[in-house]
Every structure is written in structure tokens, then in C-alpha cells.
Symmetry: C2
């Protein structure tokens, strides 16, 4: 079992790599090689099998062809220019999210072996301009360039799978909270910051109304589902290879109440509130209520308890406060 994680330097990619190292197997077979590729070479991880790190710009067709010249049994495609960045820089988003995904699929098209490809799409491919809750058969009517590019990737993945070029499965990830580390250029970044920064003793800014709802999943459940999605029988998905991963719907107010319950009342003093119309417009366009029939039928996991998500973050990812 040879596995390639494109976007293997990102936080989901690194957590997925660690989980695969812990398991040692995927699809019932021992993992022999795990390759982590990203725009900057990812740091290695400890594992009982070979782990290699690679610098890869997926917008570079030749580089992608070279990476795929080896046979991979499972390829995770997690690489993306994130939402606010793709909104601010249209060309950068098209380059990585649109052409990058196309390059990967094209590189796989003429392989003798058909790789399993797990493609990370996003709830951002949905919008609030259509009847809610979102179902697996609701139109992707994205109101961001990021969501548009992700939805296009879904369509390509489906057609390349239907034609037998790949064995793809595309999953729309909820906003993943609590992300460790530093804020990034995702419009959703603050959903993690308002929990992570106060816990680490730092101030955070909430740019939306506390009534704002979000559809989220924890890193732990997200990674577990990415493993499960690679293991399902692609044929069982029929003609539609893309579906939403389970999430939970919660307001910012409820997130902050859970934070207070876990970390004490003083912690909320570190959260300032100042509306940012740019962020607010993007986030309000995302659906926060989804039915996930396909994922539920497949037996995928779902977060139920935001306090547990906070405690998981404290146990595994929290960084010590600045001295």
C-alpha cells in the first residue's frame, strides 16, 4: 500500500499522516510507503514504514506528472489555496485549485493502475441561495471563487471516475475546528482562533455576529473520516462520487459558551468582537445546515459535542502560552 498525500504539509495532512502511521494499514493492506507532498516540503513523521517528503506545486503539470510517474494505490488531494486567499487573488486560486486538480487527474488518466483518489472538497461549494438544509443532491451554487473551484474539482473527479481513469471519492469537509497553530487566510480561520487563542492566553477577534452558525467538524473526526472514505468500495457510490462529510451546526455564541465552561469565565475577556464585512459576507454565504445521507449510510463519524472538541484540542494540539 503506497499512499501519497498532496497537501501533506497542511494541518489535516499531517494529522492524517500520523493516523496512518499509527494504523500501519489502509484498505486491509500494510502501508509500505507514505509520501507527503506540499508547496514546501513537509517535515517527516515517525512510522514503521518508509515516509518521504516532496516539494510539489500542483499547478506545475510537469511536476505533477513526475510525482505520479510512480504508482500510488491511494492519493489524498488536500492541497488548496484557501477561501479568503482565492477570493483576494483570483489567478492564484484558479492556478492551484482549478488547474492543480486537473493536472492531478490528467496525470492519473493514462496510468495502468487506477488509484483511489480522496479529494477534499468543501462545504463552501454550497450556498444559502438554495433551499436549506443542503442535501447530497442539492446544487453546488458557490458564492466564492474557492467554492467554485472546489465544485469544479468534484465534477472532474466524478467524470474521471465514471470513465474508469481513477477510483475517486470527493468529500465536502465542514469547517475544521479547532485548527492548531496560527491563523491562516481562510475566511473560516477565526472559528478556530476564538477558541485556540484564548486557551493559549492570547487575544482573538471575532469578525461576525455571535448568532452566526457554522457547520463544523473536529480534526479528529475529519481525519478518521478521511481514512474511512479511502476504505469504502468506490463502486458502492454509484454514479455520484461526491458527498458531504458529517458535521455539527453550532452558533458562535454556543462555541464561546462551551469555551467558558471548559476554561472558566475569564477566558472570554480575550475575545474581542469587531465585524469584518468581507469575512462576514463570505461566511454568511456558506450553508450551516446539511443532511448527510450518503455519509450516514456509509457509517462515517460525526462530532456531537463541542466541549469534547475543545478538550481534544487542549490534550493534543495546544501550545504553551508565550512566555
Amino acid at each position: 500500500m503506497r499512499i501519497l498525500i498532496i497537501g501533506g504539509g497542511g494541518f489535516v495532512g499531517r494529522k492524517l499522516a500520523s493516523r496512518l502511521a499509527e494504523r500501519g494499514t489502509l484498505r486491509g493492506t500494510d502501508i509500505t510507503h507514505l509520501a507527503l507532498a506540499d508547496i514546501a516540503a513537509p517535515s517527516a513523521i515517525d512510522a514503521a514504514f518508509a515516509v518521504t517528503a516532496h516539494t510539489l506545486d500542483i499547478a506545475d503539470r510537469g511536476a505533477v506528472d513526475a510525482m505520479i510517474s510512480e504508482d500510488w494505490d491511494v492519493i489524498y488531494h488536500l492541497a488548496a489555496v484557501v477561501s479568503a486567499e482565492a477570493e483576494a487573488d483570483f489567478v492564484a486560486g484558479m492556478r492551484t485549485n482549478f488547474f492543480g486538480t486537473f493536472n492531478l487527474l490528467e496525470a492519473c488518466r493514462d496510468r495502468v493502475e487506477t488509484p483511489v483518489i480522496v479529494y477534499a472538497s468543501s462545504v463552501a461549494s454550497y450556498s444559502t441561495d438554495v433551499p436549506q438544509p443542503i442535501r447530497d443532491w442539492t446544487a453546488t451554487t458557490p458564492q466564492t471563487s474557492y467554492g467554485t473551484q472546489k465544485a469544479i474539482g468534484e465534477l472532474l473527479l466524478n467524470d474521471y471516475s465514471r470513465r474508469g481513469f481513477i477510483d475517486g471519492r470527493g468529500v465536502r469537509l465542514p469547517t475544521v475546528v479547532v485548527r492548531p497553530g496560527k491563523p491562516n487566510a481562510a475566511a473560516s480561520s477565526f472559528f478556530s482562533s476564538i477558541i485556540r487563542e484564548p486557551l493559549q492566553g492570547d487575544p482573538a477577534m471575532c469578525p461576525v455576529s455571535t448568532d452566526q452558525e457554522v457547520w463544523l467538524a473536529s480534526p479528529r473526526v475529519t481525519v478518521e473520516n478521511l481514512v474511512k472514505v479511502a476504505e469504502i468500495d468506490g463502486a458502492a457510490l454509484g454514479g455520484i462520487r461526491n458527498f458531504s462529510l458529517p458535521g455539527m451546526t453550532i452558533t458562535v455564541a454556543a462555541m464561546l459558551a462551551a469555551l467558558e465552561k471548559v476554561a472558566g469565565e475569564n477566558v472570554l475577556g480575550l475575545v474581542d468582537h469587531e465585524r469584518d464585512p468581507t469575512i462576514e459576507k463570505i461566511v454568511q454565504g456558506w450553508s450551516s445546515r446539511l443532511e448527510t445521507d450518503v455519509a450516514d449510510t456509509l457509517g462515517l463519524d460525526r462530532d456531537e459535542d463541542f466541549e469534547r472538541i475543545i478538550r481534544d484540542f487542549m490534550a493534543t494540539d495546544m501550545e504553551p502560552a508565550d512566555p
Copy 2:
């Protein structure tokens, strides 16, 4: 009012050009120049304004840039590699339908003037794998490469419009029946052949069950709707620039019954029946039942009577029988 029809050599493009010549105006303004572009230079039409013909391969980015270096007020994008051809030749379909549409949108992106773009998508971007009837907010889950490429074009059109690069409106055309001329490589071609050929005294082959339903519109109504779609206020569409054009649902049996009623009982002897699994699979994957709320709200036209469609064909497009 300067109008460019890409795909201006196709039968819908030529009928649209004639209708524009008849009208003389679009969007309340006198037409001064109509350019017809296609993979082979279209034949000219008579009009009171300037009409030019151009050879254009939309898969050729430089050629598209040159064509768009002039300012166009309205661009119709009707060019496509059709369904059965895109299914048989994946690369040809991607080249014209995927990159061709991208090339056009990119060429328009940096213009000072924002053109109205009317994009012909297709009912083939829908499938029967989702709850029927199809609504404007039903997922496009195409089961052909043609439908996939059309659905991707819709997503691009929407995002380029949202960002203000163009003023786009994408319309999913029903199968257009009765097409004049010869059969083409569209899987839907026989829906016209089984009417057209017998009327012209030639034999025709029906490759599907007579129970097969189809979602169709006449050339007359299709062209009238393409004119109306250019004239609506793009802003009125909100965040979703793509919608289905009205059609009628009819079985092959009902089509043949209407043919017999119009042309007499002997005519059906010219229609042979032999199932073709390739055509059947493609056609069965298309939805035949759609609700067209957006189009209805916009006041677009709808065919109601298949006998009238046959009579319209006989009056305007029928060719004399071979001597």
C-alpha cells in the same frame, strides 16, 4: 449593439442570427454588427446591419483572445463538441467544452467593458440519479463527459459574473427537436431523425424504447428564449446565473403518434426500431422531468404542442425528398 455568436455555424446559431436580423435590435438598441464564428466559417446571412463570418477554434486561446480584442456587447457561446462525440473522444470534449469555455471567459476577464454572455448549457448536466423532477437548485450530477463539461462551464460563468468580469447567464437547453439537416454525433440526434427523415421520405432508426421520455423544445422557442435571456437584467438573477429553459416532456411513442397524425399513417413505416445500448445508456441518464421556476418567473416561452413543432418544421426547415 455588437453581437458575437460563437457556434454561429450550427443550426441554433444560424436560426438565432436570422432572428436577430429580423428584429434589428437587442436589449433596446439597434444592432450594428453581428459576427458569426465557428470552427468552419459560417455562411453569411442577410441583414440590415453588418454581418461578418469568422473561423474560430475556441480551444485556441490566442484565437479567442484575438476575437475578443474587439468589444462585444453580447456574446452567445453555443459552440460545443456534442454528447456522443465527447463521450467517444474524451480529449476532444475537454479541449472544446472545458478549455474553450475557459478561454472565452479569460479573454473577457480583463476587458474594460463587461459583455453579456449567454452560455448554452444543457439538460445533460442533470441526471436521473437524484430526486425528480429536477429543480433549478438540484445538483448537476452529469453521467456523460459532455454534461460534466457543460456543468463546469456553468460554475465558471457564475463565478466570473459574481466577480464582475462578465454579465453571464447560463441556460440549460432541452433537447432541441426537430433539428433540420443531417443527423449529428449527439446521442439525442435520433429524436429529430425519427420525425425529420420520414417527413422527407427517408428511413430513420429509433435506438431506444418508445417508452423513453425526453425533455425537448422546438428550435423556434429555443431561439426566442435565447433572445429573451440576453435581454433580462443580469442582476435580477442574484447569485445564481444558471437555470433551465422551459421544455415539454414527451415519450417517443407520443412523438410518433403526433407524426402519424400530421403526416398520415404510412409515414411510420419509415421508422425502424433497433435498440442501441450506447445511445440508450446516455439518453436514459438524462432527466426528462424538470421544473423551471426561474425561467417561468422571467417569462420565458414554452412549447406545449408537439404537432405544432412538426408543422413548424415542415413550414420552415423541411428539405425536398431525394429525387
